[in-house]
């Protein structure tokens, strides 16, 4: 990969990468750090990364950095994960988009990341498996479970509204 290709990759993928990390973490500062760190890693391995694989490389690197961060943060926080997965009927929503966004927030991290890679970036099961280090079947299961949860969440909130 050449320097020109690297700079083109910044133009082409920095927004997507930032969106992916930001939507997962909801932390602008940390998302910035991860994007910078990811491109720094790409720069170090510039000659080993093919121009065709650069997007996958970026998302793979960012995903693992992000997951490591989440696990480290979770270790030090007292979040009640059992309640986090349940729909919150006390929240106020104005439209379906907000409901969906809240539903996505409640997804487990692995499901959330997989669905975002699928919907935001349009990756195939195989590509997502490559990025997340999961098997294709696992990816498929996570997407199916996430869809079922999102649909149930939307359905329950629609009834409330």
């Amino acid at each position: 990969m050449t320097v020109e290709e690297y700079n083109k990759a910044v133009d082409k993928y920095a927004d997507n990468l930032y969106r992916f990390v930001l939507k997962n973490l909801k932390d602008d500062h940390m998302s910035n750090d991860i994007v910078q760190d990811t491109f720094e890693k790409l720069w170090v391995k510039l000659e080993n990364v093919s121009g065709l694989k650069v997007k996958t490389y970026l998302f793979t690197s960012a995903y693992h950095t992000m997951i490591d961060y989440i696990r480290k943060e979770r270790k030090y926080s007292d979040v009640d994960l059992n309640n986090a997965y349940e729909p919150s009927h006390s929240a106020h929503y104005s439209d379906l988009g907000e409901i969906l966004e809240q539903a996505v927030e409640n997804l487990p991290e692995d499901q959330k990341a997989v669905v975002m890679l699928r919907d935001y970036e349009g990756y195939s099961y195989r590509e997502i498996a490559e990025i997340t280090d999961l098997s294709e079947t696992q990816v498929k299961v996570y997407i199916y479970r996430a869809r079922i949860y999102l649909k149930n969440y939307i359905g329950s909130m629609e009834r409330v509204i």
């Binding site: 320097v3 020109e4 690297y6 700079n7 910044v10 133009d11 920095a14 927004d15 990468l17 930032y18 969106r19 930001l22 939507k23 910035n32 994007v35 910078q36 491109f39 720069w43 379906l96 988009g97 969906l100 996505v104 669905v115 975002m116 699928r118 919907d119 935001y120 970036e121 498929k140 997407i143 199916y144 996430a146 869809r147 079922i148 999102l150 649909k151 939307i154 359905g155 629609e158």
Partner: protein, 365 residues
């Protein structure tokens, strides 16, 4: 087999699980007759083992999850899985048509399908504002490095040309009109008088015996100053000795670059003549770039990429190279150009603390 009251339990277990031969089974039974208190309460010579039960869980089919494949048919029970599969684009055209028919024929399924479709995330427009910081300008940096290499190479090449001595040339020098030097590092007027230009490429100057003035220094090394250069205050006239021209033997200045076994010879003044120093062979490495790589560089193309001054000359590159060498080594060298009436380059003058050399440019029509 030696059954006794200390080990009879092991033999009983073997008997129950059928691991004893007929004779050993008989020995165990004989032992139990003789020792009735060792007989287990439930033991009645029949093996007691748990039988496999035939209990069947009736809800197995409901637990099964099967992702639709190309052979799967849509049913009431797998409608949701088919809906997800349709969203993900996993269905064949036939399966998708079947699913659509089912949706259109059932209002509840239609609502259901609509909800499934709402689970697809819509990518928001998010702009990362730090892109400019992520970008690298190493191309320019590399270009500058290449330019520096080129400059140094050009400077060395010019020096080599200037200092090359042709011993077959007639030694009688012809003094030509001293040209004016207008190099980029030209000295201030009056401080440094330019030596006369010689019409041959030789360091030997017969008619001018004071090409090099030698300062006697009993303690330190001998120092030479070029003609016209300002002498330091401690140098008095009586410490200066004229150099006899006949003893001055021109010697070629050899430059070694990446050649193992080549010596770098330099000239120094030694009272009345110039001798080469015996410096052990030293490898001179310009950069880690191979000479073949340097040779492949298109100079003009490289320059065009990094300067808008398209007509930049080899002279400018050489001068930049010498500046660079000065900066790196702390030397005080300069390269001056002489121009004729038409403004064309007519000669060079290389000047350093140790010596000063001039040479005209031979132009072929």
């Amino acid at each position: 087999m030696d059954i006794n009251r200390n080990n009879y339990e092991a033999y009983l277990l073997d008997l129950m699980e059928g691991r004893l031969s007929d004779s050993d089974q008989q020995k165990v039974k004989d032992f139990l007759i003789l020792n009735p208190d060792c007989s287990p309460p439930v033991f009645n010579s029949e093996l007691r083992v748990l039988e496999n039960s035939e209990i069947v869980y009736s809800g197995k089919q409901k637990l099964k999850k099967e992702f639709p494949n190309s052979d799967s048919g849509i049913t009431e029970s797998n409608f949701d899985l088919f809906s997800i599969a349709r969203m993900e684009g996993d269905l064949t055209a036939t399966q998708e048509r079947d699913h659509q028919q089912l949706v259109e024929g059932d209002e509840e399924k239609s609502v259901n399908w609509s909800q499934w479709q709402h689970t697809r995330l819509v990518a928001p427009n998010v702009e990362y504002r730090g892109k400019s910081r992520l970008k690298r300008k190493t191309g320019l940096k590399r270009g500058i490095i290449w330019l520096s290499v080129l400059s140094s190479a050009a400077a060395i090449a010019l020096l080599f040309t200037l200092l090359r001595v042709d011993t077959n040339v007639d030694r009688a020098p012809t003094v030509v009109n001293p040209p004016s030097f207008e190099g980029l590092d030209a000295p201030s007027s009056g401080e440094d008088a330019d030596p006369p230009m010689l019409a041959e490429k030789s360091l030997a100057i017969a008619d001018d015996p004071v090409l090099f003035s030698i300062k006697k220094n009993t303690d330190g090394p001998v120092e030479s100053v070029g003609k016209g250069e300002r002498l330091s205050p401690e140098v008095t006239q009586d410490t200066l000795l004229p150099v006899e021209s006949k003893k001055v033997e021109p010697r070629p200045l050899r430059l070694a670059a990446n050649k193992p076994n080549s010596a770098l010879a330099v000239h120094v003044a030694d009272y009345d003549q110039i001798k080469p120093l015996n410096i052990p062979p030293t490898k001179v490495s310009i950069t880690n770039l191979s000479l073949s790589q340097i040779a492949e560089i298109d100079i003009q193309e490289t320059l065009d990429a990094y300067t808008e001054k398209k007509d930049i000359s080899l002279w400018s590159i050489a001068n930049a190279g010498i500046k660079g060498i000065n900066k790196i080594t702390g030397a005080d060298m300069s390269l001056l150009a002489a121009r004729d009436e038409r403004g064309d380059l007519s000669g060079f003058r290389f000047k350093s603390k140790r010596f000063s050399v001039s040479s005209p440019i031979e132009r072929s029509e």
